[in-house]
């Protein structure tokens, strides 16, 4: 039986996570030039520069970075909006309010 653990070489994302985010920063006469750019800026610039290439390499963690974008927050928001919209539609039907015509028509067409 094969070992179910995937032992793999470090992806570029694994490496960048460590060399950009970890490792100590020393001061004094030693210069850390990357500090001149906030790491977030780096990620954004990377994203802008070459998003397809980045995806190929598995570097798309910014898509999950809550401070940067996207994924979770959008879905949560979508869920909230859906809940609200549905509540509006259902209450509209029950108390006789007009729900937006386009949506009503679509639904009737389904029935």
């Amino acid at each position: 039986m094969t070992n179910p653990v995937a032992k793999r070489d470090a992806t570029l994302a694994d490496v960048l996570e460590r060399v950009l985010d970890k490792g100590i920063v020393i001061a004094g006469d030693i210069r850390i030039n990357l500090l001149e750019i906030e790491l977030l800026t780096v990620r954004i610039r990377l994203l802008v520069a070459s998003v397809d290439k980045a995806r190929e390499m598995g570097i798309d963690w910014w898509e999950r970075d809550p401070t940067l974008s996207a994924g979770d927050r959008d879905l949560e928001q979508e869920n909230r909006q859906l809940r609200q919209r549905l509540a509006e539609l259902e209450s509209g039907r029950h108390d006789g309010h007009e729900a937006p015509a386009a949506i009503d028509r679509e639904e009737e067409a389904q029935q």
């Binding site: 570029l12 800026t41 994924g71």
Partner: protein, 248 residues
């Protein structure tokens, strides 16, 4: 383009009398600048390479970033194979070796104790993946209207429930591995790399005593058996990136 040179620092090491089996950034040879027992792993770079004025454009060039990051990491990990190693942040440079020598000579006693804490230990990464997030299906999108809204809401709620359950499993998994580790961290989750389908649930870093490595690997195997094939990924040994500090 003034031909100026700077000393690029990869890591601090103890002991200092070691040989590093790796080439540095721009394929430069790597040397040790030592102050007594502690040394800095250094190579010479052109001042242009890390010119602050050019960094923004350089960092936007993914090819350049990868080349430099891999070179940095190769040297750091090569050092960690032969000495206790404190990795430095990518892009650390100094005017010259004299400045570096001052740094390694003037380390505080507490900073020296960081080496004691890391000695004989290596970092391993363990990532656990769950099922991929459900996307809106084309069929669902075409049905439109309230039926679609209702179904989509149900899907998302179901996703949330499933994700909460696996997130809890991930925490349990982390705790079980952390018990075998000298130290442990949960790093931020990120999107998955190629070859593994799913959502990252755990991005753990574990500092493992040499003698504990077999037990740790066994524990990771057990996790993989519990989570299913290809849901658990181990990387390492790494230099202790996630555990290095030089607290005063």
């Amino acid at each position: 383009m003034n031909g100026e040179r700077r000393s690029y620092l990869y890591a601090l090491v103890r002991p200092a009398d070691i040989a590093i089996d790796a080439t540095g950034i721009d394929a430069a040879p790597v040397r040790i600048v030592s102050g007594q027992d502690i040394g800095a792993v250094v190579s010479t770079v052109s001042a242009d390479t890390f010119d602050p004025a050019l960094m923004e454009d350089r960092m936007a060039d993914l090819q350049w970033v990868e080349t430099v990051a891999r070179a940095h990491d190769d040297v750091v990990n090569a050092a960690a194979r032969v000495a206790t190693t404190i990795p430095l942040r990518l892009g650390t440079t100094s005017d010259d070796d004299d400045t570096v020598r001052e740094l390694v000579t003037d380390l505080t006693p507490a900073a020296r104790r960081s080496f004691d804490r890391l000695q004989g230990r290596a970092e391993y990464g363990v990532q656990v993946f769950g099922p991929a997030r459900r996307a809106t299906t084309a069929a669902a999108r075409s049905e439109g209207g309230a039926a679609f809204l209702r179904r989509r809401r149900a899907e998302l709620q179901q996703d949330e429930v499933e994700r909460a359950a696996v997130a809890e499993q991930a925490t349990t998994a982390f705790d079980s591995l952390a018990r075998l580790a000298a130290d442990s961290r949960r790093n931020p989750l990120r999107d998955v790399g190629p070859g593994v389908a799913g959502t990252m649930l755990l991005n753990g870093a574990f500092l493992i005593e040499q003698d504990e490595v077999p037990a740790f690997r066994t524990a990771v195997d057990d996790l993989a058996a519990a989570f299913g094939p290809q849901r658990v990924v181990i990387t390492g040994p790494w230099a202790p990136y996630s555990f290095a500090d030089l607290e005063p």
